[in-house]
Symmetry: C2
Subunit: 222 residues, 2 copies
């Protein structure tokens, strides 16, 4: 278990709060984000799913379909959802805007390497960790995060990496450390100087380095 970058994401079938779904059918041609949480009715998870619900228009705008997962039952998901909405305190939203998978037999959690052995339920079974998998339209794993139960995720970082993945899927650029949308991007070394000039009419700036190699090239975000 444990998915590596570039692996084809398993086309699993699962019971969710919007009914049974098959992953590929659900995603269609969209990007996908699958994120697990340890347990319904727990504090950090409630803040995370609340934030995910609030940001769902940002994911939709980026053509990313969201799916949550934990080892709780559908009944627990349904009634916990009311707590999440109350936590968000947004009366215009009456439903969690993405499905939550009920992986109560831990089949997906095991298959996808999502368990956190340090967090156990009352019967001693491990809970799911805070995993994030970003899936590209060709159903490959593009990026993953694996955080323990103690540490809530950062949805700004999740949107930041989706922006980078989508930009670099369509433009021949890469994003530097701590990049944010609108910042300059890097020109990959495989693009020759002439071609770089015509590909990036906004200009290419090359930083001189002791090695004399001309690889540290910036251009405004295309």
């Amino acid at each position: 278990p444990g998915l590596l970058l570039g692996d084809a994401f398993p086309n699993f079938e699962a019971d969710t709060t919007i009914g049974k779904l098959k992953l590929y059918d659900f995603l269609g041609d969209s990007w996908g984000i699958l994120f697990s949480h340890p347990r319904d009715y727990t504090p950090v998870c409630t803040t995370e799913l609340g934030q995910a619900a609030e940001l769902s228009p940002e994911f939709t705008k980026r053509n990313v379909k969201m799916i949550a997962l934990s080892i709780d039952s559908l009944e627990e998901h349904y009634s916990w959802s009311k707590d999440i909405l109350a936590y968000n305190n947004d009366e215009t939203v009456s439903e969690i805007p993405f499905p939550i998978i009920a992986d109560d037999r831990r089949e997906l959690a095991v298959e996808l390497g999502m368990l956190d052995p340090e967090e156990k339920d009352q019967s001693g079974m491990p809970l799911t960790a805070r995993c994030v998998f970003v899936i590209s339209p060709d159903k490959k794993l593009k990026l993953s995060l694996l955080y323990p139960a103690t540490t809530g995720r950062n949805f700004d970082e999740i949107l930041r990496v989706i922006d980078s993945l989508q930009l670099t899927a369509h433009k021949r650029v890469a994003t530097p450390v701590n990049w944010k949308p609108g910042d300059c991007v890097m020109v990959p070394p495989a693009i020759p100087e002439d071609e770089a000039r015509s590909l990036f009419p906004a200009g290419v700036y090359t930083k001189e380095l002791p090695s004399g190699k001309r690889y540290l090239r910036y251009t405004p975000q295309p």
Copy 2:
């Protein structure tokens, strides 16, 4: 290959820019962060290692030892290091303040599941992805990130999660979504109300929820 949360981190031996090291001896009682990059003399990696070098006092302050890794040779690491320092443009720092592993036979990259199959060198061999492994003093994997070559990491997020991991290793709290040091933290459900009151003399605030369950409890960061 591919490490899961809670796995004992392999006590590997490696050739590095500060000589041969064995992981556990190098780490001693410290926390550790092992991060891989695709290739020396490439643009995003230079910005990342430059940022890592600049932030090394922040990691030291947190008792975290840093180790970088790529599939390049020691000779490449040594001469590329000069480029990184020139990029940083900080004349007070004359050396990269952490070792860089030369994994030129890709042994660690394979063992630790760090390869990115979409990025290949001139001979068609896959490069390392942008992985981050945070290792606790008991040598277990506490958290991991797996980003592709196109997408530079965010060192603010890396420091944020280290702050959360260290806080929650010593105090019985967990950090909510988007938490930053100094923000309120969550009281885990396993702590009964009486005990929570005495454990957190700064006060515990419980949010009322439709389920009537009293699990959404905040307290100022202890």
